[in-house]
């Protein structure tokens, strides 16, 4: 058999079958849609509530990934002192946190403390302080407001000279807040952040209004951050027998332990009263807080009140002092009983004397802590600029800013820091010849619904792309992605230790606790690269090329699954143009 057998397929056989020879990429199914998705980050409620507008959601994201450098940098864009705020801030962020509607708020306060602590002794910040721009400012007072002015001004290139009447920086941070809340060591370490040739401290320099005129010649602007130096007096007979609460705290912080023992009346309901009560407790005395209204109306931070009471401080409500009489070593204080009166138009409960009901209580000491006010020389009525946290008046064409407790409605460390930032931004705008645009620019820089301003947005950071006025609501968080996990409990020293020492009460999170807690954060409104959108997209229209995620509009059919599934409301649906 020599003939070869035909094996080649003959070419005259028609073979046209249903078989693919191309793919579907030619079908631009994007033409189907009538709505389109978009990546649109929004403002988290915590940021919106923070007086400094810290990008909290972003901080928690970095913290949960152990990216402490970025977490710290994000905080430092808005707040120079996380180790401090992480101890003393009243954390409105936690009250606004969306997580509370699922299980419990995220422990933002303690996470900030951890990040702040990590940042101590690591002097690198997101940008080294820049070159000088030629202008210089004078800052009166080295309390939180003044320090904040120095920090933000230096970050914009200004030289800063801080005039401080005492021998140390910190203001109330140094002389007011007790060390069981803010240890001195922490304060000192945190202030290294301001170690720079462009920030000069001039101690033991008390500046009065007269010296302002002289200073004006040497500087391009002045920032008054002196705080409320004068305690408000009781204005009752025998008031000279009372000890000033702020003075007392200053003495304790200066290690001049006054001799306080026995029962101590602490008159007042604010943070100072609490600080005094808890301090004297630690000195072995028995404090009793006497307040003219009820606990609910006390202006002190609720968690501070709780801490005081749990440590054994007593609280007597609805008692207003009428007079103090000295009886050898003891003081007899007469109180008028108070009762609820009308409610104001705003719904505030007023208190009025309850007829003739009186009480007289005898104490070893009486401490007055009913508030403080600014020195009379700083009072002013007419302003050239009025913002939420600061004011400005031109004195012979030179801008002078009032900051901190001088101008803020709430007298807290955080508000003081915010005030400094706001004033610096306003000043910088003026320096750029845009004085008439201050309000517009502040509006552009506001976080959420304001009034906090973002330094990041002001300096044209990425945050400017976030939708500022839209605050993420809990309804828009997709809780399917978040199983119930209770908050990590913070560690505290024992009750006994509280009563016996000025050691810091709250120990803070360790690393694994911090990560656990930071992981609970929803990261409301920001994209944390969870990739849920891409994972579910049925059109394969969400692609990721190692740097960014983008939507292929040629193919997206607008089904909306990405938006529905996004766990943190970082996307938005728009009508197709």
């Amino acid at each position: 058999m020599s003939q070869s057998i035909q094996t080649q397929p003959p070419n005259n056989v028609s073979l046209l079958i249903s078989q693919s020879r191309t793919n579907t990429l030619g079908n631009k199914t994007g033409t189907w849609r009538f709505v389109r998705p978009k990546y649109q980050e929004k403002t988290a409620p915590c940021s919106n509530a923070c007086p400094l507008g810290i990008d909290v959601a972003m901080v928690e994201m970095f913290a949960s990934r152990k990216d402490y450098q970025n977490a710290l940098n994000t905080v430092l864009m808005e707040n120079p002192f996380p180790a401090i705020c992480g101890r003393v801030c009243f954390h409105p962020c936690e009250s606004a946190c969306n997580r509370q509607f699922l299980d419990q708020s995220v422990g933002i306060h303690h996470i900030e403390r951890f990040i702040g602590h990590w940042g101590l002794n690591r002097t690198n910040i997101s940008c080294k302080y820049p070159e000088f721009n030629g202008a210089s400012i004078a800052i009166i007072g080295a309390g939180p407001a003044g320090l904040s002015v120095a920090y933000f001004a230096r970050r914009l290139g200004y030289r800063c000279d801080i005039f401080e009447k005492s021998d140390n920086p910190g203001g109330l941070l140094k002389y007011g807040i007790p060390s069981y809340r803010l240890p001195d060591r922490i304060l000192m370490d945190e202030l290294h952040r301001l170690d720079d040739e462009g920030i000069q401290f001039k101690y033991a320099q008390s500046i009065s209004m007269d010296q302002i005129n002289a200073l004006k010649q040497q500087y391009d602007a002045l920032f008054l951050c002196c705080g409320d130096a004068n305690s408000i007096t009781l204005k009752i007979s025998g008031e000279q027998f009372s000890i000033d609460g702020l003075d007392l705290l200053r003495q304790i912080r200066s290690n001049q332990m006054p001799l306080i023992e026995g029962t101590v009346a602490v008159i007042g309901g604010g943070n100072t009263a609490i600080d005094v009560a808890r301090s004297v407790l630690r000195m072995g005395a028995h404090p009793v807080i006497l307040y003219r209204r009820t606990r609910k109306e006390m202006p002190a931070h609720p968690h501070e009140i709780d801490a005081a009471l749990s440590e054994g401080v007593l609280l007597k409500e609805c008692l207003s002092p009428i007079d103090i009489q000295k009886n050898t070593n003891l003081f007899e204080v007469s109180f008028q009983r108070m009762k609820p009166g009308e409610k104001t138009n705003e719904g505030r409960q007023t208190y009025i004397p309850d007829g003739n009901r009186r009480e007289t209580i005898t104490f070893n000491h009486v401490v007055s802590a009913i508030g403080a006010e600014m020195d009379i020389m700083w009072r002013n009525e007419l302003w050239d600029l009025s913002l939420s946290h600061c004011r400005m008046k031109k004195i012979e064409d030179q801008p002078v800013f009032w900051c901190g407790d001088l101008t803020t409605s709430e007298k807290t460390v955080t508000h003081a820091l915010a005030s400094g930032k706001q004033a610096v931004i306003a000043w910088d705008v003026m320096q750029n010849q845009k004085e008439n645009e201050i309000h517009t620019i502040c509006h552009q820089c506001q976080v959420g619904k304001g009034p906090a301003l973002s330094f990041d947005i002001y300096t044209k950071g990425d945050r400017k792309n976030r939708n500022n006025t839209e605050i993420v609501k809990f309804e828009h968080v997709n809780t399917a992605y978040f199983p119930n996990i209770p908050a990590v409990q913070i560690n505290k020293i024992s009750q006994e230790s509280c009563q016996n020492s000025f050691d810091e009460v709250i120990s803070g999170f360790n690393e694994s606790q911090m990560i656990e807690e930071a992981t609970r954060c929803f990261n409301c409104g920001i994209c944390n690269d969870c990739d849920t959108c891409r994972i579910f997209c049925p059109e394969m229209a969400i692609q990721w090329d190692n740097t960014t995620r983008h939507i292929l509009m040629d193919y997206c059919k607008g089904c909306g699954i990405c938006i529905e599934e996004c766990p943190r409301d970082a996307m938005k649906l728009e009508v197709e143009p």
Partner: protein, 302 residues
């Protein structure tokens, strides 16, 4: 036995953990929000490129590409409606005879081609323990031909052949139990709202020899009358209400439940147009049926 883990819920997992290769190309003609496409997406990501799909008449027969296009990056054999079990058997036999033991043969059929018309060839293949993976993506009706009922249509649903007051009054066929009775080595349910679980099961099935069956819940916005963005949310509810439990059966006898749900069935029924005619009493009846089936499943798993 059973454990809910955080991994069951995606969204807290970062990009790099999920494969970025897609084996489906954009431009396919599935309805916006199609759950069956998401099912195929996860399945192929888990199975990889050495896969041959056998697709009978169903929605995916069109989504896979109309001549001369294909939307998939793996070879596809289209076959007649009721033949996936048999056709896949043939493909597997041919590959074996060619010495190819690495390629996974996957029959990918809808509920019609699995529960009803295709049931015979599937049963035959299971009985012979044919070495392929059979996936039924279940959108609970003959969707491709216009939403007519199948034996996978759940009790209470409206379809175009169970319209208005003649809504489906027979329970959904329990396909896993039926196939488990064939003693196939692996049968499991998966759900597109639980991608980690789904991919784990596909990877596991890939490495088992013999007939493996995966029942994939694939919601259908078009046929279920739900908004197209609810595809994943509704799928999740099906598991969380124990209506579509996630479980595995090995060798026909070892049952493992993967998730314990605790939500009421009314939450699932109220948000779908195909159930909106049901009354409160119907919800109660259906809840009883769900509880009964869930109890039966738990008995098997203990």
């Amino acid at each position: 036995m059973c454990k809910n883990t955080q991994e069951m819920i995606s969204g807290s997992i970062m990009a790099k953990k999920y494969p970025s290769d897609d084996y489906i190309m954009p431009g396919h003609v599935a309805c916006p929000g199609c759950g069956a496409v998401i099912a195929m997406k996860f399945a192929l990501q888990a199975l990889g490129p050495k896969t041959i799909l056998v697709i009978p008449a169903c929605c995916w027969a069109v989504v896979a590409g109309v001549h001369p296009q294909t939307s998939l990056k793996v070879p596809v054999l289209h076959t007649a409606f009721e033949t996936s079990g048999a056709a896949a058997s043939g493909v597997r036999a041919a590959l074996d005879m060619k010495g190819d033991t690495e390629t996974t043969v996957v029959a990918w059929a809808g509920d019609g081609g699995t529960f009803d018309i295709g049931f015979q060839s599937l049963s035959g293949a299971c009985e012979r323990n044919e070495n392929f993976l059979y996936v039924c993506y279940d959108n609970e009706a003959y969707m491709n031909t216009g939403v007519q009922r199948s034996s996978a249509t759940p009790y209470g649903a409206q379809t175009t052949t169970t319209p208005r007051n003649a809504w489906k009054s027979h329970r959904k066929k329990n396909i896993i139990d039926v196939l488990a009775a064939h003693r196939i080595p692996y049968a499991a349910t998966v759900n597109i709202a639980f991608p980690d679980d789904m991919m784990r099961k596909f990877k596991k099935a890939k490495d088992i020899q013999g007939t493996r069956f995966i029942h994939a819940y694939a919601s259908c916005p078009t046929g279920w009358r739900i908004p197209s963005d609810q595809t994943v949310a509704i799928s999740r509810l099906a598991v969380q209400t124990n209506l579509f439990p996630l479980y595995e059966v090995e060798n026909g006898i070892d049952y493992t439940i993967n998730y314990q749900g605790n939500r009421s069935i009314a939450e699932y029924l109220k948000v779908q147009g195909r159930f909106k005619h049901l009354t409160e009493k119907d919800h109660v009846d259906i809840q009883e049926m769900v509880n009964e089936d869930w109890q039966l499943l738990n008995n098997k798993a203990s």
